[in-house]
């Protein structure tokens, strides 16, 4: 699944943006990104259905200062 997703992204990068990453360069980029991608993949399972990026602003308000 991860490999398929990576391949899809590279294809998207090539076709949609005309950005070429060829041969060793593409492999180097894939290696460089893998640790971050792996950690991010591990987080995916935590995404709830009823959620959106604006939840962050609500969370900010829940935790806003001042200190006691």
């Amino acid at each position: 699944m991860a490999a398929l997703r990576g391949e899809t992204v590279r294809q998207w990068a090539r076709e949609a943006q005309d950005i070429e990453f060829a041969g060793d360069h593409a492999a180097g980029i894939a290696r460089a990104i893998e640790p971050v991608a792996a950690a991010a993949r591990a987080a995916e399972k935590a995404v709830p259905f009823d959620s959106e990026p604006a939840d962050f602003v609500r969370a900010q308000r829940r935790w806003q200062g001042p200190a006691r």
């Binding site: 943006q17 640790p35 792996a38 991010a40 995916e44 806003q64 200062g65 200190a67 006691r68």
Partner: protein, 464 residues
């Protein structure tokens, strides 16, 4: 009159207000210092001598007429070369924007102008603010006043170097993954990474619109508080700013820390520290204990994941913003920045949105682990001693340089970087105080309590 470079920002503002020195004298002193330090530090991209002296003379005329322009009347400042000023070039540390003339003025500069401040120069920075070291292959590396062989930290490199070397009394920087706190810590000055939504970014070059923040670098905490008060607050030109009070300034700054609970992390932030930096960090916690704070261990969870998600958000947003230039002028980027942009093209859209959605969950988890127990958390800014420019020239060590800073941007929290000693290589060591969202005033109070008992901010780099 004593040497005015011995004064901090608050002190020089008072001296100008009292007529002990003129704004022109202060400006000329700083302009001369910016110029003479340039061969050694390379902190300046553009010196605005004529405009600065005209503004200084206007400030002096106003004072002679009985008018004070504001709390920063005649105070010499300079800023990272990414804050737009109408009619001026903002290079953003890049070749691509070497002739970009801004058609508007950043809100933060407008507010500093209205408070009476002078802008003397545009300062060196990492190319497009995309790097934590202070290297710049287009304008030359910015050098640390404590040791030119060592990095200044970035990306607000010139801001850290210029304030530490007492070339100006304060400077603005931006912090997307540590870019205010790193140069502050590494150059031995104070830096405030503001809460996401606290300070307008209108007219500031974007790197990552979800993580970018603007904040001041100064010699002292009380200087930092003064600049913060001027620039903070809602701005109709930046709809992401929050309409919230900026907190109690003035006397509250001297309120001390007795009765406050300060957290010391047992996870993540202390990894990568050396025995030497661990001792310095422990000494800060002990100093706060002596000042009357309770020191409590906290264990914020998920920080490796947070760090990765921060990288996803930053790199995807930066690559999106740079996509057209990447297509058309790829060769005009430095190798290091070009490589970073290429990584950002590799993440799927779903991963980026996931990373944004998960910010709320991670902030809640961090809040329960930290703010349910303490008022603020102490952490190192840089876990290890400051590396040399040569050691970090190829973009290496970026992960470790930003390790302790980057998660705070993802969580959107404020963090105050304080000078907290020196390592054996003679370079400064910095500690950050991380607070609840919009708790900048409390962080400044906590920082001021430490500053009153220590003299790190009074040390001068050799030769400056």
């Amino acid at each position: 009159m004593t040497d005015i470079t011995e004064l901090d920002l608050v002190g020089v503002a008072a001296a100008i207000r009292a007529g002990e020195i003129s704004a022109r004298e202060a400006a000329e002193t700083c302009l001369d210092r910016l110029e003479s330090a340039q061969p050694r530090l390379n902190a300046v991209i553009r010196l605005d001598r004529d405009d600065a002296l005209k503004a200084a003379e206007a400030a002096d005329r106003a004072r002679a007429g009985g008018r004070t322009l504001g709390p920063l009347h005649g105070v010499p400042l300079a800023h990272k070369d990414m804050f737009y000023r109408r009619g001026k070039i903002a290079t953003c540390g890049s070749k691509i924007r070497h002739d970009f003339v801004a058609d508007r003025t950043a809100t933060v500069l407008t507010r500093l102008d209205a408070a009476g401040a002078l802008q003397l120069a545009a300062l060196n920075m990492n190319e497009f603010a995309y790097g934590p070291s202070g290297h710049n292959s287009h304008f030359g590396d910015c050098c640390n006043p404590w040791s030119p062989a060592h990095i200044t930290g970035g990306s607000s490199a010139g801001s850290g170097a210029a304030v530490a070397a007492r070339l100006v009394y304060g400077a603005l920087g931006s912090d997307t993954g540590g870019s205010v706190r790193l140069p502050a810590a590494i150059c031995g000055v104070v830096g405030l990474k503001t809460t996401s939504g606290r300070v307008s970014r209108s007219g500031a070059m974007p790197l990552s619109f979800s993580l970018d923040t603007v904040g001041p670098l100064t010699r002292t905490v009380r200087d930092c508080a003064l600049l913060y008060e001027v620039i903070a607050g809602p701005d109709p030109d930046d709809p992401t700013t929050a309409d919230l009070p900026t907190g109690p300034p003035g006397e509250a700054l001297e309120g001390g820390v007795r009765g406050l609970r300060l957290g010391v992390p047992t996870t993540y932030f202390l990894d990568g520290m050396t025995p030497e930096t661990s001792r310095l960090f422990a000494a800060v916690a002990e100093a706060y204990r002596r000042l009357g704070a309770d020191i409590v261990e906290v264990a914020p969870p998920g920080l490796d994941e947070i760090s990765a998600l921060a990288t996803v958000v930053l790199s995807v947003e930066a690559s999106t913003l740079h996509m057209n230039w990447y297509r058309e002028r790829k060769e005009d980027y430095s190798d290091v920045v070009r490589a970073r942009l290429e990584l950002g093209f590799q993440h799927p859209g779903t991963r980026y949105v996931e990373a944004l959605i998960l910010r709320a969950q991670h902030l809640d988890a961090f809040g329960h682990a930290v703010f349910d127990h303490v008022d603020a958390m102490l952490a190192p800014v840089l876990p290890m001693p400051v590396p040399t420019r040569a050691e970090t020239a190829d973009g290496g060590a970026t992960g470790l340089l930003t390790r302790c800073a980057r998660p705070i941007n993802y969580l959107g929290l404020p963090s105050l970087s304080l000078p907290a000693g020196f390592t054996e290589n003679g370079l400064p060591f910095g500690v950050q105080v991380v607070g609840r969202p919009f708790a900048e005033a409390e962080l400044l109070r906590i920082g001021r309590a430490y500053e009153r008992e220590h003299d790190w901010h009074q040390r001068r780099p050799p030769g400056f």
